[in-house]
């Protein structure tokens, strides 16, 4: 009996302890960071801070719904509270893996829904240090991922992954990510420019557990060259709120229901 148990143990041991590949780590991280829950809702407060400390505020409600598995299609609905000149604007994104997003912007001053041509890869989101891709993620297949080391960061065991874009579609040459071994959230990301110099740094500053999902509720992206940084705080974060499909439509873009944006 004991012998069988040992054999069983030996049989399962390699599987249990077999190291995850870099690709698998990034995939798990993507799921934990960008695809958690069926849907997601948060009041997002962005502070754009110059080197000299001048602040500008962007405040919005962000709703996200997943369609399919992690890495699959998603829809975003964003309603702006601040600044005053974009108040009541809404923004909708249909995000597709492997191709460009569809985006619509509603301009309340002329009651017009406008389609927006924009590229994710390098475009700044509302003037912040985050690109669209930093907010909504990058396709797993767009980079070659390598596990370069494992180390502790702020007391947490991390995988350190190097992700090098396959095509020159972004303005950085590679990215190093410190991914928490336990919950797979990215704790830090360092972006290096084409000359190999450090360009911008992402840090996850505070965590919360919402409906059992570990969540980064405060984060910062800092531009090393300009000294400009953007601090993001998620308030009223929630998951699995039952966002209906029909919310992601022109009708509700023009007239966002209070229930979903407040």
């Amino acid at each position: 009996m004991m012998r069988y148990l040992i054999i069983l143990f030996v049989l399962f041991l390699p599987i249990q302890s077999q190291a995850l590949t870099a690709q698998e780590i990034v995939k798990k991280s993507q799921k934990a960071f960008l695809y958690q829950g069926k849907d997601f809702k948060a009041r997002v407060l962005m502070k754009l801070i110059t080197k000299s400390g001048r602040e500008r505020i962007r405040e919005m409600t962000m709703l996200r719904k997943n369609y399919g598995t992690s890495g699959g299609e998603q829809k975003y609905f964003i309603y702006f509270f601040k600044p005053a000149d974009v108040r009541d604007m809404t923004f909708m994104v249909y995000k597709y893996p492997g191709r460009d997003d569809d985006r619509w912007l509603f301009i309340p001053a002329i009651n017009m829904v406008k389609r927006i041509a924009a590229r994710d890869k390098t475009s700044s989101f509302v003037g912040s240090d985050f690109t669209y891709e930093d907010i909504s993620g990058r396709d797993l297949e767009d980079d070659i991922h390598t596990l370069i080391k494992e180390e502790k960061l702020g007391g947490r065991e991390c995988h350190v992954i190097k992700s090098r874009p396959k095509a020159g579609d972004v303005n950085y040459s590679y990215k190093l990510s410190w991914i928490d071994k336990e919950n797979f959230l990215p704790l830090k990301e360092k972006f290096y420019d084409l000359k190999g110099d450090l360009m911008k740094v992402f840090t996850a500053d505070r965590f919360g557990e919402i409906k059992g999902y570990p969540t980064v509720v405060e984060r910062t992206m800092k531009n090393i060259r300009s000294g400009h940084r953007t601090e993001v705080t998620f308030l009223k974060t929630d998951y699995n709120t039952g966002i209906p499909d029909r919310l992601f439509s022109e009708r509700f873009l023009k007239r966002p229901p209070k229930k979903w944006i407040k």
Binding site: I110, R115, I116, H228, K258, K259
Partner: protein, 413 residues
């Protein structure tokens, strides 16, 4: 057609609900807006096309299923030295599960065009646009009922417009322009009266088909630009300015393509009072096309291109009946537009350039503009409206001596 009693019923119901509204919000801005002539003073002697301070208040009250919105402008205009209180928008929404209703003064924008309109047949203020006022003042409100319907297979907006509202064109006091009947000063304006058969109807049915935002449009009402009817063509002494009957049938498509956004729009203008093109004072029937492309060239830099063409039907009849001495329009008229936008400094500084160019009329309008957001509440913009080319009666050529430099400053709260 909804009856007055149901309007009243809704209004009373809404007011009752709004007294206990869940949320009342008040926003708005204080604005200074000035536009100086660069060529010559206005015909009325002023050096300014526009000089105004204004305060706008936006009040909204929400108590589902009702929503009340009021946007009102209190302004002082220096050229005419007059103050004004204007209701820009004021409506009540009723929201049901798969339909909704908006009653009152409302701004509606349809179609895919960027400053070029085919199926957006709602009233506009071109004088505001040419005078360097902020873009939103190009659109005028319609006093209307809009019913939105959202069954599963498509969505629709039906707009019923009992009160006619004309487009506002540059006035002869502020703008130096061509007038084919300059000598006739006895002019009489005749607007469609508010009665059942004059009620404007506009319908848009839309849905996404294979990634294309697709819309069909229908309009039955009047042209919003006036036509002139002289009492006698050979020796006119009196002009009647009126708005001929019009129906429009149109469609538009918009989709992501070629690394950008591509759009197509078309419309057939059925000029119901001149279906054979024999009356030279009323626009002939016409077919209009618009195609557009916009693309982000690099970060924070976008390019927008449009080509618009108008084909005048029954051109032979138009030519045959046009009185001698009248400027002759072309059978094919077109406009090519370019928009360039570049954002800097975390999208707080914007350089933009918009141009209209007509190949058929050889005239143009250029609008270079710079806008800066000093803080989250305060922005300023300045630009130039430059007109030229063509003949003295063509769209932009006629405004040749009206170039102006404008400044807009706004504090939003």
């Amino acid at each position: 057609m909804l009856k007055i009693s149901s309007y009243l019923f809704l209004a009373i119901l809404s007011v009752h609900n709004i007294v206990s509204a869940d949320e009342i919000s008040v926003n708005g801005f204080i604005q200074g807006n000035y536009s100086a002539n660069l060529n010559r003073p206005n015909p009325d002697g002023s050096d300014f096309k526009w000089a105004e301070e204004k305060m706008q208040l936006k009040i909204s009250a929400d108590k589902e299923p009702f929503y009340l919105f009021i946007k009102t402008d209190l302004s002082y205009e220096h050229i005419d030295e007059k103050s004004d209180l204007e209701l820009r928008e004021g409506y009540i929404d009723y929201l049901a599960d798969n339909w909704d209703l908006r009653l009152g003064r409302q701004v509606i924008t349809w179609g895919t065009g960027d400053l070029v309109f085919i199926n957006d047949i709602f009233p506009k203020d071109y004088e505001a646009f040419f005078s360097g006022r902020p873009m939103e003042y190009l659109k005028k409100g319609s006093d209307a009922v809009k019913i939105g319907m959202y069954p599963a297979f498509a969505s629709a907006e039906l707009v019923i417009i009992p009160f006619f509202e004309h487009d506002n064109f540059p006035s002869k006091r502020r703008f130096r322009m061509f007038d084919p009947m300059r000598g006739v000063t006895d002019r009489y304006k005749e607007e469609p009266s508010t009665k059942f058969e004059n009620t404007g109807i506009a319908l848009r049915v839309y849905r996404n088909i294979a990634g294309f935002d697709t819309s069909l449009y229908f309009y039955r009402g009047f042209f919003r630009q006036e036509s002139m009817q002289p009492d006698s063509v050979s020796a006119p002494t009196r002009l009647t300015l009126f708005y001929p009957r019009l129906s429009v049938y149109g469609a538009s498509l918009q989709s992501r393509a070629f690394d950008g956004i591509v759009s197509f729009e078309a419309g057939f203008y059925d000029s119901r009072q001149d279906r054979h093109g024999t009356d030279p004072m009323i626009p002939n029937q016409s077919t209009r096309f618009l195609t557009g492309y916009q693309k982000q060239i690099w970060e924070d830099f976008t390019l927008g291109l449009q080509y618009y063409a108008l084909y005048m039907n029954d051109y032979y009849q138009y030519e045959k009946n046009l009185p001698a001495g009248f400027p002759k329009e072309k059978e094919w008229q077109d406009i090519f537009t370019v928009r360039l936008t570049h954002l800097f400094m975390h999208q707080t500084l914007k350089f933009s350039f918009f141009s209209f160019w007509s190949f058929s009329d050889e005239d143009y309008m250029l609008i270079p503009e710079v806008k800066y957001n000093f803080t989250d509440h305060l922005w300023a913009a300045s630009g130039i409206n430059i007109f030229g080319g063509g003949e003295e009666w063509t769209r932009f050529g006629s405004l040749d001596r009206n170039d102006n430099l404008y400044v807009q400053m706004r504090y939003e709260f």
